[in-house]
């Protein structure tokens, strides 16, 4: 799964810590998501998308590879 969290974060000028606090996870989790090392749950994906004011598919795209 690929994501554009870092791009949206840069566009909104939000720090990793700010995003983490807003969606209720640790900064390490946001970092792991951005690096592609961790695929968030559906709930967290929705929270992140809602935080940026966009749809889930705008932030996360499924390429059919990798494990959850």
């Amino acid at each position: 799964m690929e994501n554009r969290v870092k791009v949206y974060r840069a566009m909104r000028d939000v720090t990793q810590e700010g995003l983490a606090k807003a969606v209720g996870v640790s900064r390490q989790t946001v970092m792991a998501i951005e690096r592609g090392n961790y695929n968030p749950s559906l709930e967290l994906a929705f929270k992140i998308a809602r935080f940026f004011g966009v749809g889930v598919e705008d932030v996360f795209t499924y390429d059919g590879a990798g494990e959850g």
């Binding site: 209720g24 996870v25 640790s26 749950s41 967290l44």
Partner: protein, 189 residues
């Protein structure tokens, strides 16, 4: 006078924050009630009470303090056991657990989320797999060739083998339980 008291309070925190170990301790909110108090023992008590209630830690400091608490608690438990004192390990364990709990509650950052849950699950599964494999191999070795070293090893081998089987049985029971909790039984509907 109130200005002086606030100044004293602020300076107190600033001087604390300069120390290396307390760099992450910050004053969450200024103690407004202090303005009405005069400088006395009451003031000092009030300061201490407020200081402990406004301690806010970051994740790294919380981890360091937790490691220190665990190390000290472990050392005191060993000392207590060696001295034959039963109260020291119990009191130390309870105090350590309370201190760790307090530190977690005073941490401003999120420490546990869905990723840490997955990490814990994977770590637990790997630990169980490694332990079961180790117990099985060592148990089998003791059962088969343990007799040649010491007859007692054979009994120990059986005990380890049963321990491994018990662990696998327990894992199977929990697997069925969580399979039911997180999906229910398949009735072919």
């Amino acid at each position: 006078m109130p200005g002086k008291l606030v100044s004293v309070w602020t300076q107190g925190f600033k001087s604390l924050s300069r120390r290396h170990f307390f760099t992450s301790l910050t004053c969450a909110k200024p103690p407004t009630g202090i303005l009405k108090l005069t400088f006395s023992k009451v003031y000092i008590t009030y300061c201490i009470v407020n200081f402990t209630s406004v301690i806010v830690l970051n994740a790294m400091t919380q981890k360091i303090i937790t490691v220190v608490i665990v190390a000290v608690t472990g050392a005191l438990i060993v000392i207590g056991i060696n001295l034959g004192n039963l109260y020291l390990p119990v009191v130390t364990l309870m105090t350590g657990a309370l201190a760790i709990r307090y530190m977690r509650r005073r941490t401003r950052e999120v420490l546990y989320d869905e990723r840490t849950t997955i990490i814990n699950q994977k770590a637990s599964a790997a630990a169980i797999a490694a332990f079961t494999l180790g117990v099985t191999v060592i148990g089998w070795l003791m059962m088969t060739v343990g007799d040649t070293i010491d007859p007692a090893y054979k009994g120990l081998g059986y005990a380890l083998a049963f321990l491994g089987c018990g662990l696998l049985l327990l894992r199977m029971i929990f697997q069925y339980y969580y399979s039911w909790r997180l999906g229910g039984w398949d009735r072919g509907e």
